[in-house]
């Protein structure tokens, strides 16, 4: 074990870890915000919804489906002009963020819709009866009441993003997944493969663990 530790290129690991953490959490934060907004949009424009709007609903649905349909590797390429505009380069961890966000946002939006669907209709009705505005219903009822499922959804999305970051290696974003594959697996460097995979597993555990803990705390049903 000690020997193994000695063999690990700590600097390389730390850099990759940082890249993964940076990519995962930045894109997670953005995806959750955008996904929540789009999820609310999707949920509230549906036929029984607060802002019932067939066209907007179908439109949002269409865009989400299209984004989800495009393979991640192609998204990486398609958004290059946009990425360059935004971060100035198409390479590196920063440049991966737009693609990651575009991949994860529609995903989280769907999970958010599932969460919202589970909210007891009676409570939404009660807040309507109190004269709550639609915005208040969304912020004060829909989201708080759906919170456990929304938080669990954040975990699922976060862990999926960890997986996506591995693919972002394609544009030189680095990260642990890329390290594991290119330096560990492809080069048959088992030490790198093993240690970077362990780090990814730890990240996954931390995300899931924090999520489970929060859900347990906030779920007062």
């Amino acid at each position: 074990m000690n020997q193994l530790l000695e063999q690990i290129n700590v600097d390389q690991m730390i850099i990759a870890l940082n890249e993964t953490l940076f990519m995962t959490f930045t894109s997670l934060a953005l995806s959750v915000v955008f996904g929540l907004i789009i999820g609310v949009l999707l949920f509230s424009t549906q036929s029984e919804g607060l802002y019932k709007n067939k066209i907007l609903n179908a439109g949002t649905d269409f865009i989400i489906n299209v984004l989800r349909a495009i393979p991640f590797i192609i998204i990486l390429i398609l958004v290059i002009p946009f990425t360059k505009m935004l971060v100035g380069t198409m390479l590196g961890a920063k440049a991966a963020i737009p693609s990651l966000v575009i991949a994860a946002t529609p995903f989280y939006a769907r999970l958010a819709v599932i969460a919202f669907t589970e909210v007891d209709k009676g409570t939404i009705e009660a807040s309507k009866a109190m004269g709550a505005s639609r915005f208040e219903i969304i912020t004060k009822v829909l989201i708080p009441e759906a919170l456990p499922a929304l938080v669990s959804g954040i975990c699922v999305t976060g862990i999926s993003l960890v997986g996506y970051t591995a693919m972002a290696g394609a544009i030189g974003a680095g990260g642990l997944g890329n390290l594991a594959y290119l330096y560990g697996f492809a080069r048959r460097d088992n030490v790198v493969l093993f240690s970077s995979t362990v780090l990814v597993i730890i990240i996954v555990f931390v995300i899931q663990g924090i999520g489970d803990y929060i859900v347990k705390r906030i779920d007062k049903r």
Binding site: T123, A126, S127, S133, R221
Partner: protein, 338 residues
């Protein structure tokens, strides 16, 4: 004033159409406590939910203070709703909020300042007897406690109209009484219009000024509590009024006949104005019949004591029974010889 005009509500389910409300008409004056009674499934909840437009009617109009509510813009509707409190049959509390925060909710919506909210909430919690449970979540409450949170929440924003869908069904009699008194008091003090769906006839008697009886989606009878209790017209109304006497009249008849096969059982109906006199005593003194009270229910209502007495005369002739009954009827008591 709340006017309900020709309201029809039909639910389409896959099998068939359910006609929950089939043309209801009502007029509720400002400051009135208006009871709605009727069998389970009669359409009471649906009708009340149409008043604040939680449910859209299939046809008909709801007019509040001269304005047709379905023509309101959504922001007008919201403003209006903030002044219509509602107590739900199934409570509909937010599980994610504590007792305190649930009660605070309508105040947040109405944009009441934080300090005032705190104060009002404290007062309401005391009012419904939930001191010490402020920070409990709904899942940690008993059924009656949940209902009380629902009541406090409906009252929080000093509504000018209060819609109650079985507001006291989960409460013990004493708590029910205190809630009814509370409602009565705020009705007097703030002239709040109240529409009260209830299955508890005591609630109608103790609290309501007027009452409507619904059956099968229609308002089959409507009037002052006195009228309804004195002269029930509709079959359904009669049955409900009879339940004030403890049980369905038919059941009581049957039971009493079984219990007292000998002699004669009479039903003496008293309505508000007259029972204040010593009628029974007078009549008893005028006769020699061995009269005993086997079932009775006389309560003080908004119009004076009223109710029914079932008297058993254990021994006597047909003529004597008739004499007794005639004497009572002369005094305004409605007598039925069973």
């Amino acid at each position: 004033m709340i006017q309900i005009q020709d309201i029809v509500k039909t639910f389409s389910t896959k099998g068939e159409d359910i006609h929950a409300v089939r043309g209801a008409n009502l007029e509720i004056q400002d400051g009135e406590i208006f009871g709605i009674i009727g069998y389970s499934g009669a359409g009471k909840s649906t009708l009340v939910r149409i008043i604040n437009q939680l449910e859209k009617q299939s046809s008909g109009k709801v007019i509040i203070d001269g304005e047709e509510i379905e023509k309101f813009s959504s922001s007008q509707l919201r403003k209006k709703r903030q002044k219509i409190g509602m107590i739900f049959q199934h409570f509909n509390l937010l599980w994610s909020r504590t007792v305190e925060k649930n009660i605070e909710f309508p105040l947040e919506i109405a944009g009441v300042s934080k300090e005032e909210r705190k104060e009002r909430v404290q007062k309401l919690i005391r009012l419904v007897g939930l001191e010490g449970r402020e920070n409990a979540y709904p899942s940690e409450l008993s059924g009656g406690q949940k209902q009380r949170v629902g009541i406090a929440r409906a009252l929080a924003n000093n509504p000018s109209i209060l819609l109650c869908d079985e507001a006291t069904s989960a409460l013990d009699p004493e708590t029910t009484d205190s809630i009814l008194e509370l409602l009565d008091r705020i009705n007097r003090e703030y002239n709040i219009t109240m529409i009260i769906i209830t299955h508890q006839m005591e609630v109608v008697q103790k609290l309501c000024h007027k009452v409507a009886v619904m059956s099968d989606g229609k308002v089959v009878e409507e009037g002052t509590v006195k009228d309804i209790f004195e002269h029930p017209q509709n079959e359904v109304t009669k049955r409900f009024v009879q339940t004030v006497e403890g049980k369905n009249i038919e059941v009581i008849k049957k039971e009493l006949k079984k219990l007292y096969p000998y002699g004669q059982v009479m039903r003496l109906g008293f309505t508000g104005d007259i029972s204040n006199k010593a009628i029974i005593a007078d009549v008893i003194r005028k006769t020699t019949l061995p009269v005993s009270i086997v079932n009775s229910n006389i309560t003080h209502s908004q119009i004076g004591p009223m109710g029914v007495i079932y008297a058993h005369v254990s021994d006597g002739s047909e003529a004597e029974y008739r004499e007794f009954s005639d004497l009572l009827e002369k005094e305004g008591v409605k007598v039925d010889i069973l």
